[in-house]
Amino acid sequence: MEKRVVFNNKVLPYLLVAPQIIITLVFFIWPASQALYQSVLQEDPFGLSSTFVGLANFFDIFTDDVYLRSIQVTTIFSFSVAAIAMSTALLLAVMADRVIRAATTYKTLIIWPYAVAPVAAAVLWYFLFSPTVGIVAFYLKILGYEWNHTLKGGQALFLVIIAAAWREISYNFLFFLAGLQAIPRSFIEAAAIDGASPGKRFWTVVFPLLSPTVFFLIVVNIVYAFFDTFGVIHAITEGGPNEATNILVFKVYHDGFLSLELGSSAAQSVILMIIVISLTVIQFRYIERRVHY
């Protein structure tokens, strides 16, 4: 006799998915539609007068040098953060994978920074590099290198990249370590017996097997650098000096909440929304299907 569980209740399934749907509607669909609506309006801060301007806000954005520069800065920033965070994490993961004694202690210590709130991490880095009281800035001065990120754009960008990447290393480390531990020992042992050096074993056996993890982390890291680094920029440079660290997501906040230009800010957030949607599509449609062995 076949035993089958059949739910005859017509309402229950809807009730069960309702919380998820309500949350998505309230916290994503509704604000996103508001942003879309705002992006075609020109409005004063108080909402006393609003005019429909079509795509004028978008046109203004793409003819604004500050915005174009911000795109450039964001690109450099995101790729640098992803590259630094991933390469360092991979190196640490490979090393931690080989550690035999006190492995848990190492792992715990490396994962720790992830528990630090972005703003707290940023303030920490800010104090290390503060041109007046920072210990790193102090030693750099002794070495004859003048550190003043409040004035020098390159230094400021470097500092926010380091501060943003630092925390992400822990996250990447977890994934890389899990990926490494999923690789069967026999593969590596077979390669070793064939006489492959440790370097060769890594690049020809381990790294290709890690590629799904690598591609997943590339997308996650870029999304992180694009959207979650607001706190770092806000606490360290506020987009300065001379727009050198003014990344897109900070500019949305700056134009919307400080300059009270709601239309332009909304249009910018719509552009960011398109970027994140396309990154997700790439992640699911392209990378997840192409990467296999």
């Binding site: 108080f46 006393l48 007046t132 000096p241 700056h254 009270l260």
Partner: protein, 438 residues
């Protein structure tokens, strides 16, 4: 029967609440931007008012920094639940003025309340910023300050300089700084709030316009003029002085404070309201003197202008509530409250009575640094160029100035090009504001 009893109980309870709330004092919401020690002082003022009468209760709420507070107020207005009183920083003045349906001008609030209100009792250099050209007060000045020169007495002595003779002019500043650097100080002077001090106040102090149409008071079709030869000369000089370590840029807002507190620089131009913080942190004796000026500029020294914030009354409340606001403003303007606020914080008193009261108490003899700001503000009768400024989108203009000044100081542009670019970008924002508020 049981249900009936319960219902009866609930009904009585609701009735009771309704009666008590009808008898209760009326709440006046006051959103402000003062944290820490200043926040406690604000709470003390509210508590003092609440004790002084039994009709109204002012509830002071800290809403974050100036930007946060203004944004919170605007968001509250948009969701139709604004506070009664909103503290807005001086550069937000034009935005608030333009939002006529969102605010209720202070002269109206005071006039309708029937309480005694004399606009002449207030210091003109303070209220000028918040008054229409025909003299009607739009918002109530609350915390106002003006930039002065702070100097490290110990450093002066070490470098063989007389602390009783602070530099009066910029060439003297350079000369003093050279001596300070020679005596072992890493750099001569730095500044906070560079746009406010070295562009806006610099203009007023030298009696040159920041923009046309009487610095924007005369109409929305104003244009910036702070790329005049005098401005270019000053900013270029600051940039050039970096080589000799006479000047060093300290960062945006008042991030440079650490440079003065830690003794990296021996002179510092900063808001008079920074006095309390400096006194708390600095481990050396310091004094203040008036801002330096260029002796070859014909109009200098004129008088400086204020920064800080004022209290705006938001639209959409009942006449009784506005009466409460007016009562509170009268209390706030009283000499005793004002003098106490001034002496505690270093902000300027807003009425002449409060100034005289403080003077009469012998306060300035004990704290000579505290009078510098007032002397400087009232040095001359304000002109068109030194009454204040009223430009739309000025929050963004300050950001543009930070960016361009940083480009100048790092050597990417010269002062002429940088200030020219700043003025051009600023004028674009002025036109945008004009279009939006025609």
């Amino acid at each position: 029967m049981k249900t009936f009893r319960l219902l009866l109980f609930v009904a009585v309870f609701i009735l009771g609440v309704a009666i008590t709330s009808a008898q209760a004092v009326m709440d006046i919401q006051w959103w402000h931007a003062h944290g820490g020690g200043l926040g406690e002082k604000v709470n003390a003022i509210a508590a003092g008012f609440n004790k002084s009468q039994s009709m109204y209760k002012v509830v002071a709420t800290y809403k974050g920094n100036y930007h946060d507070t203004m944004t919170a107020g605007i968001a509250a207005f948009r969701s139709k639940n604004p506070p009664h009183i909103l503290q807005v920083f001086e550069v937000g003045t034009a935005t608030m003025m333009a939002a006529k349906a969102a605010i209720k001008p202070v002269y109206e609030v005071m006039g309708e309340s029937g309480l005694p209100f004399d606009p002449k009792a207030y210091l003109p250099t303070v209220t000028g910023y918040y008054t229409t050209p025909d003299g009607r007060m739009l918002s109530m000045p609350f915390n106002s300050s003006t930039p002065v020169l702070y100097y490290n007495v110990e450093a002066f002595r070490k470098a063989g300089l007389d602390p009783n003779k602070p530099p009066k002019t910029w060439p003297e500043v350079a000369e003093y700084c050279r001596k300070l650097v020679k005596s072992g100080y890493p750099a001569g002077f730095s500044t906070s709030w560079i746009s406010w001090i070295h562009i806006e106040n610099f203009s007023a102090w030298h009696n040159v316009p920041i923009g046309t149409k009487a610095n924007g008071f005369g109409g929305l079709d104003t244009e910036f003029t702070y790329n005049s030869p005098l401005h270019v000369k000053h900013i270029q000089q600051l940039a050039d002085w970096q080589k000799e370590k006479i000047f060093i840029y300290g960062g945006r807002r008042n991030l440079g404070n650490a440079k003065f507190y830690s003794g990296e620089v021996a002179m510092y131009t900063e808001s008079s309201a920074g006095y309390a913080g400096c006194k708390k942190t600095c481990k050396f004796p310091f004094r203040t003197s008036m801002l330096p000026y260029w002796p070859d500029a014909p109009g200098a020294p004129q008088n400086t202008i204020i920064g800080g914030a004022s209290l705006w009354v938001m639209a959409g409340h009942s006449p009784e509530e506005y009466r409460g606001v007016a009562t509170f403003f009268s209390y706030l303007s009283s000499p005793a409250v004002q003098a106490d606020w001034h002496q505690f914080t270093g902000y300027l008193p807003i009425t002449t009575d409060a100034y005289h009261l403080t003077k009469g108490q012998g306060f300035y003899e004990k704290n000579p640094g505290m009078e510098t700001a007032l002397k400087q503000m009232t040095l001359n009768k304000p002109t068109e160029n030194s009454k204040g400024l009223r430009f739309g989108n000025f929050v963004q203009v300050r950001d543009i100035n930070y960016n361009e000044l940083e480009a100048i100081f790092v050597g990417k542009k010269n002062a002429k090009k940088g200030l020219g670019d700043a003025v051009a970008a600023g004028n674009k924002l002025l036109r945008k504001f004009e279009r939006a508020n025609r």
